[in-house]
Amino acid sequence: MERFDHLHVGVLALQGDYELHEHQLGLLGIKQRRVRLPSDLNDLGALIMPGGETTTMAILIDRFGLRKPLIDFGRSQPVYGTCAGMVLLARHIEDNQAGVNPLQLMDIDVLRNGYGRQVYSFEETLRVQIASGIEEIRAAFIRAPKVTRLGSAVETLSVYQGSAVLVAEKNILAASFHTELEDDTSLLRCFLSRSLDRQVVDKVP
């Protein structure tokens, strides 16, 4: 994975399955760092927001002064959110009983646990549009969020039962589901490629 040699990727590590994302980055030999405090974001080229509990992560983001630094980072740098990460990236959370304040880095609305509670969690093979074309990936939906509104600038890269489940808008990528529970790194590579492409774009005067 020589292409990714110069990329330094952060993983938001306040709570959740961040170790699984770190494992996947490790499989590709990517330089990585845990992000727990604002200074951990310095000099990173991209950030992954893992799955976990949205409410917990949102509370810790505010408690440790990460809200503004994360928003600033996400305005210019590539960010990839899975499950809870997607919820935090959203513009608006429907039926927001816990009063979570999302980072609003992406023009989508989501419904938490939109596919139901844990007894309805499932795996599915999805067709996803990634740089090299259409690929099939195995996706785990675990108390997953459902996208209920897509902004006009948001691209849909995969659909399941009529709802967008993998979406992109400029430098932001978000998935309702997990692929990090196993060793299939195709979605991560898709994100890293997008990150590099953007770096190239950014460097054009």
Binding site: D17, R36, I59, I142
Partner: protein
């Protein structure tokens, strides 16, 4: 036949993965559940009585009344867990029927079956089970548990038993990684578990499902100690709502777990928390009154 690659099992273990780095709090009312959620709990355990009250009051402890559990479920967005008695697969089916997110087949309740645990493979809902050593952990995993936690000695506020169980599991797992195949056969036989499972542990040096700590955690430092000893998240039972300022303590334990490697932050979260639960030394409890031996 054990099939860890079974997709139904993977989504069960998947939820356990999402709870890592978090604090799961015992609650007995919707109000406590909301306090726990706003303090940053990753899940709540819905109970009728916390372990220290079960210990004090004695008698038979059973699955909580569904009215309590459902009230808690309506009050929060985070996952809701509930306890059933060891071997009581009907209590478990009832909890599954009301769509509880995780079931704790727990030694804190009075066991319903002194010989068998529940066959957890046949459920859609994931299970967590307690253990004191690696053999116990692997037996529960071979029955289909999607998460393991230490037993500790629940309801004491004394972390020493959780520490003992974490150290025991950690050191034996480490020894497995350097054993010969003949020795691994011996371990499988001694533990009464499938050889495949022993081989997996020997290969990866850890359990094939998340490994959490429980039993006696009462302070932010207790919680961080468990993380340093190999726990991947922490259950706090009586420790929060039996302390003088539950909201503050809950918030502090969540902060200490998120930053378990940062001692300055743990220090910041160890100030002005009021009185912890009073507790009793676990060593002073006669064996017949210990919950961990169940």
């Amino acid at each position: 036949m054990i099939n860890f690659d079974d997709e139904k099992h993977r989504v069960k273990v998947g939820l356990a993965e999402m709870l890592k780095g978090g604090v799961i709090m015992d609650v007995t009312s919707a109000e406590q559940a909301r306090i726990a959620e706003q303090a940053g709990a990753v899940a709540v355990m819905a109970l009728e009585r916390v372990p220290s009250d079960i210990r004090a009051e004695g008698g038979v402890a059973r699955m909580a009344d569904l009215e309590i559990i459902e009230g808690i479920k309506r009050a929060v967005t985070i996952p809701v867990m509930a306890k059933c008695r060891i071997g009581h697969f009907i209590e478990a089916r009832v909890l599954e029927a009301v769509e509880i997110d995780f079931i704790d087949e727990s030694e804190v309740l009075t066991p319903a079956d002194n010989k068998y645990h529940i066959d957890k493979w046949s459920f859609k809902v994931p299970f967590v089970c307690g253990c004191r050593d690696l053999g116990e952990a692997l037996r529960r995993i071979s029955e289909g548990a999607a998460m393991i936690r230490t037993k500790g000695e629940a309801g004491t506020g004394d972390v020493s038993q959780a520490v003992k169980h974490l150290r025991e599991i950690g050191s034996v797992m480490k020894s497995l990684t350097v054993m010969s195949s003949e020795q691994l056969y011996g371990i499988a036989k001694e533990y009464r578990v499938p050889l495949d499972l022993v081989r997996i542990v020997a290969k990866i040096g850890k359990l094939p499902v998340p490994n959490f700590a429980a039993g006696g955690v009462a302070t932010p430092a207790d919680a961080a100690l468990c993380m340093h000893l190999g726990a991947e998240a922490v259950f706090v039972g009586s420790g929060i709502f039996k302390s003088s300022e539950p909201e503050k303590r809950a918030r502090a334990i969540v902060g200490a777990i998120a930053h378990w490697e940062n001692y300055e932050i743990i220090a910041e979260h160890s100030r002005g928390l009021g009185d912890p639960m009073k507790g009793i030394a676990a060593e002073s409890i006669p064996e017949e009154h210990q919950l961990q031996t169940r």
